[in-house]
Symmetry: C3
Subunit: 337 residues, 3 copies
């Protein structure tokens, strides 16, 4: 149980109401009871404020007067909620040491504060720093380094010589450092181009479940500090992703493309290879990028769903646009007579 005063201090807020009021957990406005703390960040949900069962609500100052119970007033309720939720839900420490079922190469360096889970495999020359957690079922191949306080949840594969920074969180099923897709056509037969680069993951990076990041062909693939990657993203060899860029699920990035800092890439977007996106580019979901983007701003493509019946017709009209252009041309000719 935490008092509102303690929480307010942690999230840099001001209590309107009872500072000694205690809450134990976080809930939504719609489904909370009186020992829960809730929040309002999207004002569209303002109507739930009056009905909420929550004992206290985190709000911005303009919403404070609508709160019927206790309020904690902050600048940014969403950020404040994130911090309060972290306070109320501390991550359970994993036990330091190496699980008896793990298979760890004799010449690897595992810091005594690190936690190596069940059935883990750690190869030769690996370096695991302090407070790192390597969850059950992970395979860490030779010469990988994982820097302090990073956490690999479970069933993750880090291939040879991959470097992972500090406080990185990697979710299950992620594969980092598999060979990039490098092939050369030798008189009709495809041969593999050895992928001798590796992957560098910066600090404070998150990598979502089943995302794959390929190793570089010659130099390294680079994920910079503060990058947040969602699930099932494919990052090709020698891609470089700039600091604090955020990429939603199911995005594919072909080889050697460079993405700037502070970009926001919507889910399902596809980026061709050898492109360059400057800092501050935003792509809406499912956007198809075939050329470099040289100016910050928001870009989009794709035509949203319509009824299948209308879609069929519109596709035909699209296909026949040349005829339409031709007809307009003829009309223009006519008017010139």
């Amino acid at each position: 149980m935490w008092t509102l005063g303690e929480i307010a201090k942690h999230i840099d807020g001001v209590v309107h109401g009872e500072e000694q009021y205690e809450v134990s957990s976080i809930g939504t406005l719609q489904n909370s009871h009186k020992e829960q703390l809730s929040f309002l960040s999207n004002k569209k949900y303002k109507r739930y404020l009056t009905d909420t069962g929550a004992g206290a609500v985190i709000v911005s100052s303009d919403m404070a007067s609508f709160v019927v119970n206790n309020a904690i007033v902050v600048d940014d309720p969403y950020v404040a909620y994130a911090k309060a939720a972290s306070l109320l839900n501390p991550r359970k420490d994993e036990q330091a040491g190496i699980h008896s079922s793990a298979s760890v190469a004799a010449d690897s360096l595992i810091h005594p504060t690190a936690s190596i889970g069940a059935q883990v495999v750690i190869g030769s020359g690996v370096n695991i720093a302090e407070y790192v957690v390597i969850g059950p079922g992970c395979v860490i191949l030779d010469n990988v380094t994982v820097d302090e306080s990073s956490r690999l949840v479970a069933n993750i594969t880090l291939c040879e010589a991959v470097k992972v920074g500090k406080r990185v969180i990697i979710h299950p099923g992620v594969v980092i450092g598999a060979d990039g897709f490098g092939i050369a056509n030798d008189k009709g037969k495809w041969i593999n181009v050895p992928q001798i680069g590796s992957v560098q993951i910066g600090d404070d990076v998150d990598i979502g479940a089943n995302t794959t990041i390929d190793r570089g062909a010659i130099e390294d693939t680079i994920i910079s500090n503060g990058v947040k990657l969602d699930n099932q993203i494919q990052v090709g060899h020698n891609v470089i992703i700039g600091e604090n860029t955020v990429i939603a699920g199911c995005v594919g990035i072909a080889g050697s493309t460079i993405i700037g800092k502070n970009c926001i890439i919507g889910g399902g977007a596809g980026l061709g290879g050898h492109l360059e996106l400057v800092d501050g580019v935003m792509l809406t979901g499912m956007t198809m990028v075939t050329k470099s983007i040289k100016q910050a701003g928001s870009y989009s493509s794709g035509i949203p769903a319509e009824e299948t019946h209308d879609w069929h017709k519109n596709v035909i009209r699209y296909r026949n646009m040349n005829k339409l252009v031709e007809r307009v041309k003829q009309l223009e000719e006519f008017t010139k007579k």
Copy 2:
């Protein structure tokens, strides 16, 4: 070997021909021998009926007269084939008990009829019910429950507190309950929003290889009874999928979207976040959904492939539609004179 009489009884059909005729396996019309049972569900393949080597064929009544050997006449040949194939290919029972190489927390509850495979990891507080199969290499984190007769094939990850219903089948590489993609921008730096909800998987759900289902931010992500998910689907946090909905491969569903019952979502479709699709919506493959769909029916988007040469031209015409509209306007002005 099964007699046609036995099979007909199982699939609710009537034998036309020899009830005592025996078959041992299922084959296609094109490649069967006389000890095989085949079926015709798509009438486009009717011409194969006369040539088939199959000893017997499952057909609808209007096709019965075209069968040259034995027939089993049923209402729905595809459903009947599915049932006959299950009868002729019974799943081998997995051995009950815990494999010696598995790592199982002392305080987990594993029913004695359950089968825990090699190299499995089972965390603290886990509850595995009767006849459950946890295949080799799976990682089951703390406080997960898997209800009776569910089967996890291999190399699957269930994260903390995930709940799996009865008779669920989960294919390799699936990750359930990884953190949802919740981030808040704290003065230019992204911080994580703790994902304190979990995932509930109903009864009779199938989940295809390498599909990922994220845990909820506060409340749970919910996959209802009878839902069938294909491979490489991404389900964001707090998504709710209604009963008996079917989703084909490579679909991405962003956070907090609600999909109704009995929907059919085609492969590669993308659904934005915070949307609502009513019951009975059908999406064709690769459809992009950016708004809620409030009426049952079939929806589509995307322009199918054309020759690259034509595509280039059509893209330019598309981009110049505003000019075309302008030209038509001017023509209209002209005619008004």
Copy 3:
């Protein structure tokens, strides 16, 4: 260290300069030192030739005069670089034998030259041929065969009875032989169609990280010799992919589709089910294929990104094309008066 003479012999080239000059590794033109070998295949980068620190550069004959240090002149610099990189970066042999932590069924056949890694699971009736490497964490279910010199990197799942050819490379997270998505609607309830076929992978196939290839419904799914698959590809049941076809990341191929030989499929493309693509088809990235392609050539779809502001307008124009067509019709009527 290798002399240029030795390398030239291996890659079928001619040294311009010092045959005894020694290099130790491969570098890019932009970032090499004098003990490195570089290459120029894309003439766009010709300007780097004069500045490069590389001790030697692989080039085509028309570029030889621009090289300031040593050159190795070849017909195809990219193929020659691939071969030189293989020579300079020989793969470390894995130790033959079965790791003590692996769990191997007593009735499997493991060739004594094969390497079975840590925490591997090998089921009953499996046959692993000479020089095969099964990397750590792989799960090989019953009755699988892996032919000589194939290499499974780590954390891969091969389901029952899958057949893998010679010299195949499979990257982490791949799932081969999970059940195809076969369901039949039995009076409103989906039931599973048993997937009793398997998967055949030919020789010299590469399969990228987290790619999934489903087993066939009755007959087998087939990946022919020399096929190269990138990451996160989904191959549905009973798909047949012809020899030497190359498929980039994130492609989805629905069930029963047949792709010819020597095709090149761009990243993120989607192919519907039951289609047929002839030999020599090329698809650009994110192309949506809904019909069979009966003629070799390049095909495309999708509209590339534009500024979001313009996109909104163009989508509306697209939706209103019928009105535009109507207006043009009326103008045509007018001119006929």
